[in-house]
């Protein structure tokens, strides 16, 4: 019952509030949308530029698929108050990650969500880097894959959100958001190899788009 209410709130939040606002204010130019579908336990790996990333990625999914998708986000930001924590977890669909290293294994919640069959959106760069500057990929994602070797990763490259709302800025300036979705990557048991193929995929997705970085 409670789950149903959460799902209705989430449909309302994304369908009536977030998506129309993002479409009007920003607008997406997405390629290969057909590659983005929830398929049970699955990872979506995106580059990280802005607080908007999580919501933009969530609103790319069909409304009926939203209950099956969760997005990783920083606990210290999204769960500042108990009310925000409730809203983030149940309505936005956030998996809070403890960046301060309090927990033994900070990515355990991701492993648990995959266990339950969710499609999980992750940001392998970790915290947001300089806007539109790709940070080196971290190995956290490989730890998740070691626990779930048969889970595939779909890379998503986004450009424009770091211009619209970069870190440390409160003023949103509308820019069109370019999104490119790649083919799924399979885990073969080699950490460095996976990071390399993920980085290569990001580079390829970026080269397919007409990206205009700041001069």
């Amino acid at each position: 019952m409670e789950q149903k209410i959460h799902n209705i709130l989430r449909w309302f939040f994304y369908g009536v509030v977030v998506r129309p606002i993002l479409l009007l204010i920003l607008g997406f130019n997405a390629r290969h949308m057909e590659r983005l579908k929830p398929r049970g336990a699955h990872l979506i790996a995106a580059n990280h530029n802005s607080h908007l990333d999580a919501m933009v990625l969530m609103s790319l999914f069909k409304l009926c698929d939203l209950p099956k998708v969760k997005v990783v986000a920083a606990k210290d930001y999204f769960c500042r108050t108990p009310l925000m924590a409730w809203f983030s977890i149940n309505v936005i669909g956030v998996i809070p990650i403890d960046r301060q290293g309090g927990a033994d294994n900070p990515i355990q919640p991701v492993i648990d969500a995959l266990e339950e069959g969710y499609t999980v959106i992750i940001f392998p760069e970790g915290s947001r880097g300089d806007p539109e500057q790709q940070a080196p990929l971290k190995y956290g994602v490989t730890k998740v894959l070691e626990a779930h070797p048969d889970v595939q990763i779909t890379p998503v490259y986004m450009h424009g959100l770091g211009k619209a709302l970069p870190r440390g800025e409160a003023l949103l300036v509308p820019f069109v958001c370019e999104i490119n979705i790649g083919e799924p990557i399979t885990w073969h048991g080699d950490r460095a190899k996976l990071i390399d193929s993920l980085a290569a995929s990001f580079a390829h997705l970026k080269s397919e788009m007409e990206v205009k970085p700041w001069q």
């Binding site: 607008g27 130019n29 424009g160 211009k163 970069p166 800025e169 003023l171 300036v173 509308p174 820019f175 069109v176 007409e210 205009k212 700041w214 001069q215």
Partner: protein
Amino acid sequence: MIRFFDNPVHLGLAIVIGLLMAASFIVFLLQKLNQNGDYKELSDRVKSWWVMVGVFSIALLSSPVISVIFFGLISFLAFKEYISVIPLRKADRRVLFWAYLTIPIQYVLVASNQYGLFIVFIPVWVFFLLPFRLILAKQTDGFLQSVSAISWGLMITVFAVSHAAMLMQFPVTKDHVAGGAGLILFLAILNQGNDVAQYVWGKLLGKNKIVPDVSPNKTWEGFLGGVGTTMVMSVLLYSFLTPFSFIFALFIGAMLALTGFIGDVTFSAMKRDLKIKDAGALIPGHGGILDRIDSLSLSAPLFFHIVRFFYY
């Protein structure tokens, strides 16, 4: 025929919808007759035309305020597309926020029929204030590039497009019952019809390129076919949509074909400079909104001022 339509604007829109039905039927026939042909882009284009004509009709018929909001929205989407494809500096980000604010102000001036301020707000006031705001961003490297790119964008996407909306303020008179809405419809049909006609004539007969360095698909045959077709459209429509005389209608038809062509190649030059094909992907089969309004935005102020000079 005209008796069936109290409002000439309804007749004009009915003609457009009739043409679209014909276009949809032709695409349907092409797909049936030639199963192997790839008509996806053509079919996308026609479908997008239906949506555009639908939205435009609602904007034109509902109320003057809705029309102004409609054109304001076009300016917003076009300016957003523009700044998303041109090279800018990080320091320009906050300046762009102020640039966006000119859009509501300009359209409030349109809605309240403040012609004096409307005509000077961007070329005088924003022209003065925008470079000053850029100086406050404290970065002189690339200053000229940014100030020119943002100013040009505002002129084309806001100042120029708002002239189409300002046509709405031309009054309804006894001899010209279609009023401003009739002029907007007349401009839109001739401008967009000219785009289509130049494309079709170019496909059918095109041989001699006009500006191969800028836009390799533009030919003399397409251009002249467009001029002829647009003059015919003007002659067919002027009597019930505009207060024009026959001679003036011929002249306006030729002028809109020429200015439409120039607007089109101006944007082609910009896109070629930026090494992009389309400015966006908002309208399936057409590209972005900038790709659709390129010829309109440059024609609208010329059309507005020539009509204002001779008729109002």
